[in-house]
C-alpha cells in the first residue's frame, strides 16, 4: 500500500508533464503523441473501440504509475462508465527518460448509451525526488495526477437489437446481465418457447453474429435453440427470429446461456409436476455404464453404427416413482416410434408404480442403412426425441484374390486380401478358414490349414495407406487345401464392417499318386505307393509286372480288394493325415527276383483308377 503524503493535480495545460502519453506504434504507424483532445470513431452501443496508449517518464527521476483512469471530469477520480482501461501493470516503475521504459495500456470507448460521451485520461503517479521512497521505508513520495488527454466519442445505436416477446410484451434483454431470462415453471410433460427477434436498425445489411446455446450439462439440456430461420445477414430495416424452447425432462431448476455475438444472456426455467406422471424420474444407462437423466429438449442419442456391421446400440431405461411421492403413479404405456428404433424387455402395460418402485425397459437402435434416424419415446405423456446415425465404415471393401483357385486337393495356393482403395485408417481383423468334408462320417481334414501357423485363423492388419491386408508383414497368405473332398470357406472380418466370405468346392477325384518305390529284397518284391484319395473310397489295387526286358509277366493285372484295409485306415482313430496314404505291397517270389524288372500299380476309387509304375531297384 502506498502512503500518499500529498496529492498534486497537474492538468494537461497547466504544468509540465512528468508522464506523457503517446499512441503506441503499430505495424503500420510509428509512435505518435496522444493529442490533448482525442476523439474515438463513432461506436455502437454495446460495441468497443480501443487504442493502446504508451506512458513514459519524462523526468530525471523514476516515476511509479499507481493507476490510469478515465475520469468523468478533468481531475476527477470517478471513473467514467463509457470508457475502460485495461492492461495496467500494478505499480509499474518507469525509468527516467529511458527509451525502453514505458507502460502500455488499452484505453477503450465502450458506450452503454447513445449520444456524445466524454472522459479524461488521467494517470496517478509517484515521483522519486528529494529522497522520497516508493515503499513504506522512509519518507513516502507524493502522489500526483496528470490529465493526459480529453477523450470523446459518439455512441450510436447498435445495428442489431435483440428483443423477445413474453405474455404479449416486447422485452429488450440486457446483455451480460445478472438477471436471467426466466421461462418460468413448466411441467415435465410440456414445454415453453420464447421467440427472439434480431432487428437491423441500420441503413445497410447487417451480418448476423453467431447465435449459440451454452448448456450446463453436456449432452442433455432442458433448453434447445432453433436458428433454422436465421439468415446470414439481415436487410436494412428487416428482422430475423429464432426460438429458444424450454422442455424439461426432469423436475428442478435448469439454466443455460444464450450467446448472440459477444453478448450473453442467462436463461433459467424450472421443471415442475403438474400431472402425477410428471413426477416420474426417468434415466438411462448406455453400454459403457454412463447414466443420463434425459431432458425433453435434447434428443436421446444412440451410439453411431456402421452399415453392414449388424450391430445395435442399446440404452437401458429406468422409470422411478420417487419414494417421496404420496401415492402410486400409473404409467399407461411405453411406446417407441421411428424406423430403426425398438423396445425390448418392457413390462406389461399399464403399470402402476408405488412410491420408490421402478420399471425398466431397453431401447434398441438398429438402423442398417446409412443416414440419420429419428424417433420418439413416449412414457405416457412424457416424450423424448430419439436420434441415431449409421455411417459407412472408413475401411474400404475387401475381396479375396487367389494365385490359384483352391478347387483341388493337395494344393498350396496363396490368397491376398485386396482393398478396393487405399485405406484411410489402420485396422485389425481376422481371416478364418473352415472346412466341411463331403465324405460321409468324416468331420475334418487336419491338412487344411494356413501354412504360416498350421491353424485356421490369422490376425490380419491394415495400415493407413495400405491396399492389402497382411499377416506378419506378408500380403500373400499361403494355405493348404488338404486331401479330402469338401467345401473350403474363407471369412474375413473387421470391426464395424460386414464380413467377406468366399467358398470353394473340392470335388472327389481319382486317387492322386505322389510317389512309388519298388525294391527287390530277395525273395520279396516290395512296392510302396504314396498318394491321396479325397473321397476315402479306394476299393481295389491292380498290379502288373514286367520282366527285365519290359515284357509283361502276368497276362492280366493282379487285382486285389483293398476296400476293407483302406476303409479301416481312413475311418480309424489313428488317421492323422486326412486322405493321404501310403500302401505297401509285399510279393514273395519264387526264383530270381532280378528277373522282375518293373511294376505298374493301379489304384481305384469311386471316381476311377490312377496308375503309376516303377522299375525295381
Amino acid at each position: 500500500m502506498k502512503i500518499i503524503a500529498l496529492f498534486l493535480l497537474c492538468l494537461v495545460t497547466a504544468c509540465a508533464q512528468d508522464v506523457t502519453a503517446s499512441l503506441a506504434p503499430t505495424q503500420t504507424s510509428s509512435e505518435t503523441a496522444l493529442p490533448a483532445n482525442y476523439a474515438y470513431p463513432n461506436t455502437a452501443v454495446g460495441g468497443t473501440n480501443g487504442v493502446t496508449v504508451r506512458l513514459r517518464d519524462t523526468t530525471t527521476v523514476p516515476v511509479e504509475i499507481i493507476g490510469v483512469i478515465i475520469g468523468t471530469s478533468a481531475g476527477s477520480l470517478t471513473a467514467s462508465s463509457q470508457f475502460t482501461v485495461t492492461g495496467q501493470v500494478v505499480d509499474k516503475v518507469l525509468a527516467a527518460n529511458t527509451a525502453n521504459s514505458f507502460e502500455d495500456v488499452t484505453v477503450s470507448f465502450s458506450p452503454s448509451a447513445t449520444g456524445s460521451q466524454a472522459g479524461y485520461l488521467e494517470v496517478v503517479y509517484l515521483k522519486q525526488q528529494n529522497g522520497c521512497s516508493f515503499t513504506s521505508q522512509g519518507t513516502p513520495c507524493t502522489a500526483s495526477t496528470s490529465v493526459l488527454s480529453a477523450l470523446s466519442g459518439v455512441a450510436t445505436s447498435p445495428a442489431l437489437t435483440l428483443t423477445y416477446t413474453a405474455a404479449g410484451t416486447t422485452v429488450t434483454p440486457q446483455a451480460n446481465s445478472a438477471t436471467p431470462i426466466n421461462f418460468g415453471n413448466v411441467s415435465t410433460s410440456a414445454s415453453a418457447a420464447l421467440t427472439f427477434t434480431l432487428q437491423n436498425n441500420s441503413a445497410s445489411a447487417a451480418a448476423v453474429p453467431a447465435i449459440a446455446l451454452q448448456t450446463a450439462v453436456f449432452g442433455s439440456s432442458g433448453f434447445v435453440l432453433d436458428t433454422s430461420h436465421v439468415p446470414s445477414s439481415i436487410a436494412p430495416g428487416s428482422a430475423a427470429t429464432f426460438i429458444v424452447t424450454f422442455a424439461p425432462g426432469q423436475t428442478g431448476l435448469t439454466t443455460a446461456t444464450l450467446t448472440v455475438g459477444s453478448a450473453s444472456y442467462s436463461l433459467t426455467g424450472t421443471g415442475i409436476v403438474v400431472a402425477t406422471i410428471d413426477a416420474l424420474q426417468i434415466s438411462y444407462y448406455d453400454s459403457t455404464g454412463v447414466r443420463t437423466s434425459p431432458q425433453a429438449a435434447t434428443p436421446i442419442s444412440f451410439d453411431q453404427l456402421t452399415a453392414g456391421a449388424a450391430s445395435t446400440s442399446v440404452l437401458t431405461f429406468t422409470v422411478t416413482n420417487p419414494s417421496t411421492s404420496f401415492s402410486g403413479i400409473s404409467v399407461a404405456s411405453v411406446v417407441v416410434t421411428g424406423s430403426g428404433f425398438s423396445l425390448t424387455n418392457a413390462p406389461s402395460m399399464p403399470a402402476t408404480l408405488a412410491p420408490g418402485a421402478s420399471l425398466t425397459f431397453k431401447l434398441v437402435f438398429s438402423g442398417n442403412s446409412v443416414g440419420t434416424f429419428t424417433g420418439t419415446l413416449s412414457i405416457a405423456t412424457r416424450q423424448f426425441a430419439l436420434t441415431g446415425r449409421v455411417i459407412n465404415s472408413p475401411l474400404p471393401d475387401a475381396t479375396f484374390v487367389f494365385d490359384q483357385q483352391p478347387t483341388a486337393s493337395q494344393m498350396q495356393p496363396h490368397l491376398t486380401i485386396q482393398l478396393a482403395s487405399a485405406s484411410s485408417i489402420a485396422a485389425i481383423g481376422q481371416l478364418a478358414m473352415s472346412f466341411q468334408p463331403s465324405v460321409a462320417n468324416i468331420t475334418d481334414d487336419p491338412a487344411v490349414q494356413f501354412t504360416a501357423t498350421g491353424g485356421r485363423a490369422l490376425q490380419v492388419s491394415v495400415a493407413s495407406g495400405d491396399t492389402t491386408a497382411s499377416y506378419s508383414g506378408q500380403s500373400a497368405i499361403g494355405f493348404q487345401t488338404g486331401t479330402t473332398a469338401g467345401t473350403l470357406t474363407f471369412t474375413l472380418t473387421f470391426p464395424n464392417k460386414a464380413a467377406v466370405t468366399q467358398s470353394f468346392s473340392i470335388n472327389p477325384v481319382l486317387p492322386g499318386l505322389s510317389s512309388i518305390t519298388a525294391v527287390r529284397q530277395d525273395p520279396y518284391l516290395i512296392v510302396t505307393v504314396t498318394g491321396f484319395d479325397n473321397s476315402y473310397s479306394v476299393n481295389s489295387m491292380a498290379f502288373t509286372f514286367a520282366d527285365a526286358s519290359g515284357a509283361q509277366v502276368n497276362a492280366t493285372p493282379m487285382t486285389v480288394d483293398v476296400s476293407s484295409a483302406f476303409h479301416n485306415y481312413f475311418f480309424g482313430t489313428s488317421n492323422t493325415a486326412g486322405g493321404a496314404f501310403v500302401v505297401q505291397a509285399k510279393f514273395p517270389v519264387t526264383g530270381d527276383v532280378t528277373q522282375i524288372g518293373s511294376i505298374q500299380v493301379g489304384i481305384r476309387n469311386s471316381s476311377g483308377t490312377s496308375t503309376t509304375s516303377k522299375a525295381f531297384q
Partner: protein, 243 residues
Amino acid sequence: MFRSLLLLFGVSGLVAAQVQAPTQGFLRASDQTLRPVYGIPGAYVLGQPIASGVSAAAFGDGGGEIAQTGQIVLVDRYGKQTAACPTQELHPVLGIAADGSGPLAWLPSTGTIVYWDANQCNTVQLSPASSGQVLDLRRDGNSAHLLTADRGALLDIAIDLASGQLTGNSLLSQNTASAVWNNTALMIADTSVEAPASGLRFERMSGDHWHATSSDATRHWVFEEDGAQVHWFEIAANGAPTK
C-alpha cells in the same frame, strides 16, 4: 519265361496293416520341439512333439540325430532314443546320410567333430582349427567332409576322424550364403537351386527331404529331391498347430 508270384494280398488282414499315414520325416519346429511330419507334399500335417529342447536335428530314412541341452542323441526311425553323447555345445551342426547312417556333429565352440561307431560316440578336435562357418557335414568312411562357408567362399574341408588332421580343402563355389549336401551332388541354395528366400538354414528331415528355415525363423519350407529336380513346399513349423 513267366515266374510264378504268390500274392500275399489274398491273405486277410495283411493289406490293412500295410496302409498307413505317410510320413515325410522329422523336423525341428520353431518352438524347439521335434515333430513328425505326416501327409504328402503340399498337404503336410505336423504331428505332436516327441522331444523338446531340440537345438538341431538331422534325419535320414533309418534314423536321426538331435541336439538337446547337454547332449547329442541318436534316435531310431520312430524317434526313440538309442544313444547319447554329452556335450556343452549350444549351437551344434548335425549331418547324416540319406539312409540314416554316418551321423556326425560339429561343435563350433571347441572345433570338435562328434562321430559314432555303432552307438558309441567319439570326438576329434580339428588340427589346425577351422575358420569359417560349417553349414553341413557328411561322413565318408573314416573321413568327415565339412561344407564350410569362409569369407564368401564355399569349401569342402576333409578331416581324418582318427587324427583330426586336415586331409583336403576344395573350393566348391564363391559367393554362397547357404548350402547343404544332398544325395547326389552338392546343392547350393541361392544359385544352383532356386530358393524361396535367401539365407536359408537347412536340416535334413529324411532321405530325400530337407527342412529349410528363413533367417528370422518365421517361415518354413520342405524341399524334396526327386532325381534331378527339387520341389519346394511351405510348411507350418512355428509350433503347435491350432484349429
